[in-house]
């Protein structure tokens, strides 16, 4: 106070405003965090209020024009139009009235309002995104913008704040213009432009208090507009006119064209395009994208250490298993493909795959559901193209592709990261009832497929008697008749008797992987689980084969992409459902539980599940916590909340007594004078004991508050504080005794 007054006297108002107080100097000495808070506060120091009423009215008109523009393109409802306009008008009136002395608490209220609006928008967007309701994402964004501008109008004391409102209205008009179809929209834009020019002019005028420069404000505005118009004219002249798309093409591109050494063959990942792909050795490290299954043979006792790095991003009409290739020949330890011709496909930009090459009954493919998937390669991968079951058209930037055994489509060029290709596939997807009906009996009969091919899908290297007996027992126990029932029975048996684990003992030399899994370890990962199912089905004369690829991956609602990680590599089973069902996927791994999880794993998994299911709740709590925390800090800074001092607490205690007799402490009187007034109360003055008690308390109070030798000595002051509290306790009890 003294500093301020002195500065005022010397006429140094500006210095007084920016000169640091002792407290601020203290803060600057303290910590970087507080320093930042101080600098933020200084940057937010209020600017001189804007007094022009015309400007304020015009800017309100601009904002409402923007909102109306959004309404005309049905971005918002009529109710929204009216309410947002009303809030804007009310807010501007409020801030015009309080422009000279804006309330600091209004900022906190506005922050709360803005946060809740933002959260509301965020959740509705996430909701819409999860339901793939793309148009409904845009509407909440427009509403968010509008409400933000509307509540901002409660705090526009200065010219700078008004310019924010003006630019906000420009944003609203832009949003509306992006959606506008009717020519009548140009009328709104014209109105907005005219009012906007006047606003700019007024802003310029009020910025220059000097009358001479204010005269040029109009000329300045006009020349700025003409300049902007000329620049945009030149841009329009220079830019080529937009060409409408002549035909629909799906995204496909390749960045570095590195041909693989053996055309038509499979190779290792992109960085090593020449090495032929082969299954690795036990315990061997593999490349990020190098799942051992994406090669000629698939050794079922190997999986490799697969990381969580994203290998593929997929934009798809429907999630599914991204199939790489299938295997049909089993030798007891690994899967291979029966040799067949490698077909060379040509065509640009898209390759058509003949139905007959796909291995599915062609008549089914005609009516099948068509899916489109675009794959964005994130890390170097083998030259294998993924897609759901039956790809019929592939957009790939290259002159040719190869269709190899096991339905594997290989590219001519290495699959470097950044490669994009699109696959259109027809997938015969049947529901359980249809599956039940297409193969009412488990007995296979080959129709629509060459016998030789189906024979390979029943191939077994040895009789597998133990396995067959087990499978028959299971089928009998489940009373399964149809193929579907048999598959389900075997799967559910595996689910109740087998366990999933990535840590399994190494396979003994010459031991059979399936036999070992079913009867010895009873634990395994997807390759062993799926192989066991294939072998069991084949032993029951049902054609089945091993399929490898990636599971769908995690869906990212913001980018609308499925993110596939290296560890999403998977093996599953395809079962032949006859000429009316074709090859159908089934994944026995999903029903097999994890092997004896530890309590820690259970807790971890439960927590992860809870977090996954209540993500919005957790997000809201987090946001709320952060918001409350920061606002607490700022409120502390702004309002300077102060805990009651000891003296104030004592006074409050006496006020309770005194209030019965209308003797309340006044801040401008000293404690002793207040005591004197208490003593003068008729009921108290007649008790000398009370009077001396009050005197004693008053004296100790003075010592506690004003005696430096006490206040500077915590031991002394604590002693006296306790003494005062004891005295007050005695006093109050004697008050009660005397019924005062």
């Amino acid at each position: 106070m003294a500093i301020d007054t002195q500065n005022k006297r010397s006429g140094n108002l500006k210095i007084a405003k920016y000169e640091l107080t002792f407290e601020q100097k203290d803060i600057l000495n303290k910590s970087n965090f507080r320093k930042i808070i101080y600098l933020i506060k200084k940057a937010n120091e209020p600017l001189p209020p804007e007094n022009s009423a015309t400007l304020r009215v015009l800017i309100v008109i601009e904002v409402i024009l923007g909102i109306y523009a959004c309404y005309t393109v049905s971005e918002i409802t009529l109710l929204n139009l009216i309410s947002v306009s009303a809030v804007t008008i009310a807010g501007n009136i409020f801030s015009a009235l309080t422009r000279k002395k804006p309330y600091s608490w209004i900022k906190i209220i506005l922050a709360v309002a803005a946060t809740s609006i933002f959260l509301n928008t965020l959740f509705s967007i996430i909701n819409a995104a999860t339901n793939r309701n793309v148009p409904s994402i845009l509407a909440p964004l427009a509403a968010l913008f509008m409400w933000t501008i509307a509540i901002h109008s409660f705090d526009v004391p200065a010219r700078r704040d008004l310019t924010f409102s003006l630019s906000g209205s420009a944003g609203l008009v832009a949003i509306a213009a992006a959606q506008a179809i009717a020519n009548s929209f140009s009328i709104i834009v014209m109105c907005w432009l005219i009012v906007g020019i006047i606003c700019l002019n007024l802003l310029w005028r009020s910025q220059t208090s000097n009358k001479e420069t204010a005269k040029h404000a109009f000329v300045n505005t006009l020349s700025a507009i003409i300049f902007a118009a000329m620049i945009s004219f030149v841009i329009v002249l220079v830019l080529p006119p937009p060409q409408p798309l002549k035909s629909i093409t799906f995204p496909s591109s390749i960045q570095n064209r590195v041909p693989v050494s053996n055309p038509g063959g499979l190779t290792q990942g992109g960085s090593n395009p020449t090495a032929p792909a082969k299954a690795g050795q036990p315990g061997g490290k593999v490349q990020v994208g190098g799942y051992l299954g994406f090669s000629g043979p698939l050794n079922t006792s190997l999986r490799g250490a697969l990381s969580n790095q994203i290998v593929l991003r997929v934009r798809a009409t429907e999630p599914g298993y991204w199939l790489g290739e299938t295997f049909n020949t089993w030798n007891g330890q690994s899967w291979t493909q029966s040799p067949s011709n490698i077909e060379r496909l040509t065509g640009t930009p898209s390759f058509y795959l003949p139905f007959k090459l796909l291995g599915e009954p062609p008549h089914l493919l005609y009516g099948a559901q068509q899916n489109t998937e675009t794959f964005y390669v994130a890390t170097p991968l083998p030259n294998l193209l993924f897609g759901t079951e039956s790809p019929i058209e592939i957009y790939f930037p290259g002159s040719h592709l190869y269709l190899g055994p096991g339905r594997s489509i290989r590219s001519r060029d290495a699959m470097e990261s950044g490669t994009i290709y699109t696959v259109i596939s027809r997938d015969i997807r049947l529901n359980p009832t249809q599956l039940q009906n297409v193969m009412p009996s488990g007995t296979p009969y080959a129709f629509g497929l060459p016998n030789s091919e189906l024979k390979t899908d029943l191939q077994l290297p040895k009789p597998y008697t133990r396995v067959r007996l087990l499978a028959e027992k299971i089928v009998k126990a489940a009373k399964a008749k149809s193929t579907y029932q048999i598959v389900t029975a075997l799967e559910s048996w595996m689910g109740s008797h087998m366990h999933y684990s990535l840590n399994i003992p190494p396979l003994p030399y010459h031991a059979d992987s399936v036999d070992q899994f079913l009867f010895v370890t009873k634990t395994g990962f997807c390759e062993q689980i799926s192989s066991a199912l294939v072998v069991m089905l084949r032993s029951l004369k049902i054609p089945a084969r091993e399929a490898v690829g990636y599971v769908a991956g995690s869906y990212d609602p913001i980018t609308n992409l499925y993110q596939v990680k290296a560890s999403d590599a998977h093996a599953w089973v395809q079962v032949w459902y006859g000429p009316n069902g074709g090859w159908q996927d089934t994944d026995p791994t999903t029903v097999v539980p994890y092997s004896t999880p530890s309590p820690g794993q259970i807790i971890l998994r439960a927590t992860a599940n809870f977090a996954k299911n209540n993500i919005f709740l957790i997000l809201s709590i987090l946001v709320a916590l952060i918001f409350v925390g920061t606002s607490y800090l700022f409120i502390n800074k702004l309002i300077k909340f102060r805990r009651l001092s000891f003296g104030e607490k004592i006074i409050l205690k006496f006020n309770k007594v005194g209030s019965k007799y209308d003797v309340i402490y006044k801040p401008n009187e000293s404690f002793l004078r207040y005591m004197q007034r208490l003593k003068n109360i008729e009921q108290i003055s007649s008790h000398p004991q009370l009077i001396s008690n009050l005197d004693c308390i008053g004296n100790t109070f003075d010592n506690l508050e004003y005696n430096p030798s006490v206040t500077n000595d915590p031991e002394k002051s604590n002693f006296l504080k306790n003494q005062v509290l004891d005295d007050i306790g005695d006093l109050i009890s004697s008050f009660h005794k005397l019924k005062l």
């Binding site: 106070m1 003294a2 007054t5 005022k8 006297r9 001092s645 003296g647 104030e648 006074i651 801040p667 401008n668 009187e669 000293s670 404690f671 002793l672 004078r673 004296n699 100790t700 003075d702 010592n703 508050e705 004003y706 005696n707 430096p708 030798s709 006490v710 206040t711 000595d713 002394k716 006296l720």
Partner: protein, 320 residues
């Protein structure tokens, strides 16, 4: 009873001594001066804090008696200067006279060289003489013909001034007024007290028979102890707030100087001693505000100093 936590204060005996002496002084003065408790208190405050005191009153209310009694109680020598329009500075400070037998100038000290100086009717002296007092009051020294003479150590000026409306007065210059630490007025006694005054006999007699409470040495000690009274930061802040408020307050033309603030704290220390404390409380400040600021503030016409100070004090919260 001395309000001091005995357990912890080592100098309690000193303060207690000062407390007793100060109160004895008040009692002593009250036996002679009737019905002017404020003036008596102001005089004792002046003694303890070493500030000069200015009494503003009509003639015949006992200003001279107050000064003489004070001197007698403290065993100090007293001299009196009667303010006159033709009073010269050398009449106060003294002058050099040529001693023919020695063949040199000899300094003849003036009445200012007493320990207690009664400056009667100060505002009847011309400004030139008043300004001669400036150095003596602030620096406690006198310079004549380039030679500086120190004034006696306990040195107290008790000045009186007639109300400004009376004939033949010169207004006191602001710088002069600012050098008085305390001002008050005696005022007329109450009816009963005046009757008592009439029956109690001649004031001269009483002054002569007054008992001496303390020696000059003890007076010096008293002032030392008073200076040692503790002032907490809260109190200092409060005083600065009061002083700052006077500079920008309705009804006040010229506010208080930092010297006024210092003076207020010094006098409040003396008040603390009288109340029996070794530290200053807001009560001390509140009791001394009018004594120390009353004569220094220049008011707008038509305002009363006591009213202005009351509203000013009530506008400020007491520190807690």
């Amino acid at each position: 009873m001395f309000n001091q936590n005995n357990q912890y204060n080592l100098e309690t005996s000193d303060f207690e001594e000062a407390f007793k002496t100060a109160n004895a002084l008040i009692d002593n003065l009250s036996t002679v001066i009737f019905g002017a408790n404020r003036a008596v208190r102001a005089a004792v405050l002046a003694c303890l804090s070493g500030k000069h005191i200015l009494l503003e009153d009509t003639p015949g209310v006992g200003k001279t008696v107050l000064a003489k009694t004070l001197a007698a109680s403290l065993g100090a020598d007293v001299s009196r200067i009667q303010g006159q329009p033709d009073l010269l500075p050398s009449d106060i400070t003294g002058f050099n006279i040529y001693r023919q037998e020695l063949g040199q100038f000899e300094f003849k000290p003036g009445p200012i060289f007493s320990q207690i100086v009664l400056l009667d009717e100060l505002n009847r002296t011309p400004p030139r003489t008043q300004s001669a007092l400036l150095e003596t009051m602030e620096e406690k020294q006198v310079t004549i013909d380039g030679v500086t003479y120190d004034l006696p150590d306990p040195h107290l000026i008790v000045a009186t001034q007639n109300p400004i409306s009376q004939y033949g007065t010169f207004p006191l210059v602001e710088s002069q007024v600012d050098r008085f630490g305390i001002s008050t007025s005696l005022g007329y006694p109450e009816f009963e007290e005046e009757v008592q005054l009439m029956t109690s006999g001649s004031s001269e007699l009483k002054t002569n028979t007054i008992k001496t409470i303390a020696s000059v040495e003890k007076w010096k000690d008293l002032r030392q102890i008073t200076a040692n009274v503790a002032v907490s930061k809260k109190i200092a802040t409060y005083v600065v707030k009061i002083i700052a408020a006077t500079r920008n307050f309705e009804g006040i033309k010229l506010g208080a100087s930092p010297r006024a603030g210092l003076s207020l704290i010094e006098v409040a220390k003396a008040e603390a001693i009288i109340c029996g404390r070794s530290f200053v409380t807001p009560d001390d400040i509140l009791n001394c505000v009018e004594f120390t600021l009353g004569h220094r503030l220049i008011l707008e016409p038509g305002t009363q100093i006591s009213d202005v100070l009351k509203t000013l004090i009530e506008s400020l919260p007491v520190p807690l």
